[in-house]
Amino acid sequence: MKYFVSAGGREIEVEVDGEQVVAAGRRVTASLTTIPGSPVRQLLLDGRSVALPIEPAGSGRWAVTLHGERRELEVVDARTRHIRSLTGDDRKPGGPANLVAPMPGLVVRVQVQPGDEVPAGAPLVVLEAMKMENQLKSAGPGRVAAVRVQPGQAVEKGQVLLEFAAPAP
């Protein structure tokens, strides 16, 4: 079975036939064993042993925690990938992204108003979490279209704080 594994914008083709695996064009011997009572699995890749906590994270998605850094990989088979390419369900056109709360916290200050043109790195919102004030800055240039929160408001992770539009031409 041929799979396409994507993580962080990169895609690696992995063909699995029992322990015979062709990964990114390289033929290797690989096996994965579950360690009972734990999310840890032991990967043997051409004799090299690696212990990796891997957990299912939804259909075809796998979360790997390595040195405390959690990464999600998506595994699709050739047919699913082909259908996706036909329906154009892979990427939407990019515009200036909205500012979302990177963590749950409390809005301390909003430093912009609707209509403000901001350069990359401009201070936007101060969010307090774990007794620390965290300065959220703009990722790129843009125009503030709407402010969706106010000081004193508690916000959840992923909540939209500011909406952006493309900078005025």
Binding site: L32, P53, V64, H67, E69, A129, M132
Partner: protein, 497 residues
């Protein structure tokens, strides 16, 4: 003293429970609603719920803690670090209730807690201090003229502060006012006091602190800890001894720390923090009038149990530290494991600990307050655990820490484990070429690094996991198999049952 109430949570509460048991004392844990199943509660002999998750209604509530002490029959109180540890009013309330306070006298906490007052007294005691204000700033105008006088860069600090909260470095006049506002508001939230002061910012100094221990008869120092690896003034890695401290410098800094402690009538364990400049000059920053997070590295190189010494001193016993001159033996390093997500700008991450395998083996110490099933919330500090190693010398200690970090598996919440791995692998760190701005310059260490070998391993593992999962769901019919023939039909029928 027979039964000690520990007015804290997390790893330090567990650390104190352990010391109590080794001293033959009973331990009383207190816990908020969020910490009912925490390791410190399980390890203690008694447990008292003291309120909801919010610290102001639990771990910061003096009345509730005193009620808990009475209800549990405790006759001593250990505050740990953070929360009420440096609140003189708490020490007085404990004394007032007829209980033994396991810490310095309230007068010493008060003298050192007000940073501007502390500066005045240290200057009088002949302890070197950083040029700057000795009084809290009243208005922006006064701040501006003082900053002009001592010259930029300057640093704004909370008068009642510590731990990096309410601190701002200002490099130019126009940044001063916003920094005063931000530091003041952070100080108000963290310490209930918005007053800030200002001092000369010494560029690229090391953070070197001296551990002191004082009983009724003697005040001694137990050498230095270097804590230069900091991010936004929060220490991440500490070691003892310091590559920058020779025997003679240790004696000079140690004498200054002992003078500082003696000047305020100190008892128990405490720490004098210094900035050590490249030219060898050092300046007193502040004294932490409590046990510190990073105390284990001193314990490992001096062979002393600082928390047990605190318990002994509180009972009126002499410290068990020898009166002959002491020298550090070997090298110890501590890494603070925090629930901060490197892939998300080091912002706090929350979640449930789903799996934990702490490192073990020769020279490894794991001080942690979390276990499988515990929730990491935003109510408390982001430090989950401390990984501490000892080895005969610094290169071996780094190699051992690297090995221990490789063994550690924690699933359920993002941590800074990868940062510690990258730091141990870093040449500049290995050479000891660090100062408190090290991580400002080396922000590359904070971010995950692409590794093509690793990516291939992950891709293969994910593909194999997906393949195994699909096989488990549909044993014989695969998406690219034709599924014809008797076995295929049977499998389809089996799958439909």
């Amino acid at each position: 003293m027979k039964r000690v109430l520990i007015a804290n949570r997390g790893e330090i509460a567990l650390r104190i429970v352990r010391a109590c048991h080794e001293e033959g004392l009973e331990a009383v844990a207190v816990h908020s609603a969020a910490d009912r199943t925490s390791p410190h509660v399980r390890a203690a002999d008694f447990a008292v719920p003291i309120g909801p998750a919010s610290p102001t209604e639990s771990y910061l509530s003096i009345p509730r803690l005193l009620e808990a002490a009475e209800a549990s029959g405790a006759d001593g109180v250990h505050p740990g670090y953070g929360f009420l540890a440096e609140r003189a009013a708490f020490a007085e309330a404990v004394d007032g209730a007829g209980l033994t306070w396991i810490g310095p006298p309230a007068s010493a906490i008060r003298a050192m807690g007000d940073k501007t007052e502390a500066r005045r007294r240290m200057e009088a005691a002949g302890v070197p201090i950083v040029p700057g204000a000795v009084a809290p700033l009243t208005d922006a105008g006064a701040a501006r003229s003082l900053a002009e006088q001592i010259g930029y860069p300057v640093i704004v600090k909370a008068a009642a502060g510590g731990g990096g909260k309410g601190m701002r470095v200002v490099t130019a006049a126009e940044e001063l006012e916003p920094a005063l506002v931000a530091a003041g508001s952070e100080a108000l939230k963290s310490f209930g006091d918005a007053s800030v002061y200002l001092e000369k910012f010494i560029e690229r100094p090391r953070h070197v602190e001296i551990q002191v221990l004082a009983d009724a008869a003697r005040t001694v120092h137990l050498g230095e800890r270097e804590c230069s690896i900091q991010r936004r003034h929060q220490k991440l890695v500490e070691e003892a001894p310091s590559v920058a401290v020779s025997d003679t410098r240790r004696e000079r800094m140690g004498a200054a720390a002992v003078a500082a402690a003696s000047a305020v009538g100190y008892r128990s364990a405490g720490t004098c923090e210094f900035l050590l400049a490249a030219d060898g000059s050092f300046y007193f920053l502040e004294m932490n009038t409590r046990i510190q997070v990073e105390h284990p590295v001193t314990e490992l190189v001096y062979g002393v149990d600082l928390v047990r010494e605190q318990l002994r001193i509180a009972r009126g016993l002499p410290m068990s530290v020898a009166s002959r001159p002491l020298h550090p033996r070997g090298w110890a390093i501590e890494c603070r494991l925090t629930s901060e997500d490197p892939a998300n700008g080091f912002l706090p991450s929350t979640g449930r600990i789903e799996y934990l395998r702490p490192p073990a083996g020769p020279g490894v110490r794991w001080d942690s307050g979390i276990d499988v099933g515990n929730d990491v919330t935003l109510y408390y500090d982001s430090m989950l655990a401390k990984l501490i190693v000892w080895a005969p010398d610094r290169p071996q200690a780094i190699a051992r820490m690297r090995r221990a970090l490789e063994e550690l598996v924690l699933v359920g919440v993002a941590t800074n484990q990868g940062f510690h791995v990258r730091l141990m692998d870093d040449e500049a760190f290995q050479q000891g070429d660090v100062d408190i701005q090290f991580l400002d310059r080396r922000s590359d260490l904070l971010e995950p690094r692409p590794d093509t070998d690793r990516e291939l391993q992950l891709a293969v593992a994910a593909a194999l996991a997906e393949d195994a999962a699909r096989r488990a769901r549909r044993p014989l019919v695969t998406a690219d198999g034709d599924g014809s023939g008797a076995w295929g039909r049977l499998a389809r029928q089996e799958a439909l049952r």
